[in-house]
Amino acid sequence: MSVKTVREALNEALFEEMARDSRVIVMGCDNGVKGNPFGVTLGLAKEFGFDRVIDTPISEPAFTGMGVGAAATGLRPVVEIMFCDWVTLAMDQIVNMAAKMRYMFGGKVDMPLVVRVPIGAGGGQAAQHSQSLEAWFNHVPGLKVVAPYTPADCKGLLKAAIRDNNPVIFLENKRTYAVKGEVPDEPDYVVEIGRAALARQGTDITLVTYSSMVRTCLQAAEKLAEEGVSCEVVDLRTLLPLDYDTVIASVARTGRVVVVHEAAKRGGMGSDIVAELNERAFDLLDAPPLRVGALNIPIPYNAALEDAVLPGVQDVLDAVRKSLSNE
């Protein structure tokens, strides 16, 4: 075990996979020379050459489409859309081509494509640089969606995503690049896509969450423990396919659940998860499942306003207490 930041873990994953398989290429703005603004691709071009670490112009629709074509013809591209907000430009290639080509074309087309889309609001990045659009991808059959939090999970799941023969949307969080954690030293640490993990065990209520909100939920759980409330925190790690077995097993233990995500509450992942729990686990529920998410407002610039819009520890506490109140 070594302690690493998320950034280091992601960088390592890319290094390892590119060394392991010469078909893996990386493309995106500033991915080569600069190592991308967040440092995730730092050093790759030097190691593997600019043929495989491609600095693209600002042409998201086209270079994502190129990733699609390359994936269909023998390469394993890792395409980066610098901010999740701009994935809107690449949606056609992701939704209408990458997600569907295999199915439309008789199962004959391979699409081992990874699209990295950094999410994460806060710090005054404002409305067009702060969004988490995983709910959109959840809605597209043919995609897989992964959203790890811990450095170990970031490394393991990026490696898994690159090895997966399906198009994978990889949600890394730009606000947690500096989070430190223990990462196994083993030479080939891969985390299986589709498996959630228990970040904290508890008995009174289940918090289902992912990405930066894992940290928020753990903080809330500490606070609640002082009041004698025992929270179980489920870190989903993969959003599609979502590990309902783990979630439902937890709800069976606690009878209560709150889904927490940074993305806006309306139409977010929480809506889908709560609906599924309603269908699959109704008789386990001792209280209505609740959701915590950002307010339905474009993320404002001003610090206090931004703070008011984004969900925090207090919102989680409020939701837990509401659930336990039986009102």
Partner: protein, 389 residues
Amino acid sequence: MPKYLILPKIGMNMEEAVISEWLVQPGDRVEKEQMVVRAETDKAVQDLFATESGIVRKLLVKPGDVVPCQQRIAVLTEEGEDCDPDGGEEPSAAPPPAAEKPAAAASIAPAPAAREKGRIRISPLARKMARELGIAPEALTPAQPGKRIVKADVLRFRQRPAAAGEAGVFVPLSRRRQVIAKRMAASAGEKPRVTLSATVDCGELIGWRERLKQERKVTYNELLVKACACALGRYPEMNCVSEPGGHRVMPSVNIGVAVDTPEGLLVPVLKETQRKGVHQLAEEFAQLVEKARNGSLTLDEMTGGTFSISNLGMLGVERFDPIINAPECLILGVGCMKEIPVVVDHQVCIRTCMQLSLAFDHTAFDGAAAARLLAEIKRMLECPVLMLS
């Protein structure tokens, strides 16, 4: 100035009464000592008297109310006076949190299940659990009013005493039984009780009863009463009732005889048994039994005893340890007559005998005194002619 009627305390042990019906109404003029209200005490239904005179303006209690003694029950004024329409500041009779109330949860009126427009607010999990346990959701209550019924509430319900259908039918204590329970517990707890027993040869007694029966109906109960009365006549210092700090020796031997009624145990008291003949006792006793059975014994008929007899012989009981009927200090338990082998003149022969158990309050007497009394009772019963002396 308005005056108030209060609920009078008419028995030594009376603490409260349940109003049965008013005998007067607002507007009536009542005189002090006039019977104005009928109420049930722990002994019987009684008419209670007015403690003031005046014109009834407002009744402060209503049938069914449990009213403590000395509490205001009506407002009276003189002619021409105005009356405060709200009457006195006494609250309308709210049942005091009496110690008599049993701890059993069933008698605590449950808060109605939280309802919204006729629907019960209950979580899916709780509903499922209730269904599996055979509990109707309507029987459940939330931890606090207005909250949703959840799993914890189902578990809480489950831990209550067995409800109908699970382990028998729950029978809450009636008022009568509450009193009995209280008395028995107090007696058993407070009086250091010792029981002495003796076997009585009933040969002569049987013959005497046969002879008396030819005149008029007589049961063994009257003969037992007479025997005890005579015995207490010899030891008059034992004819007493407990009082705090000591006991009071009474002039009259008033013997209560336990009677089984549908409502439970009642002990009507035969007064001045020392000077009444067996036939008179038989007559009186028959009347008391009749009244006991239809619930019309008066307070006087149920109090004032100095000695009690409990005869379970007709039910086949051979011997038992009765609990003293406080505030008395003695009780005689009587078993059944049966043929047993006895030794007479070094020979075994068959005699009809019965067992007596005399329980006494060791606060009042010692064993020797009680033994002497028992021996005297036995002597009377074995040789009834001695009752003439």
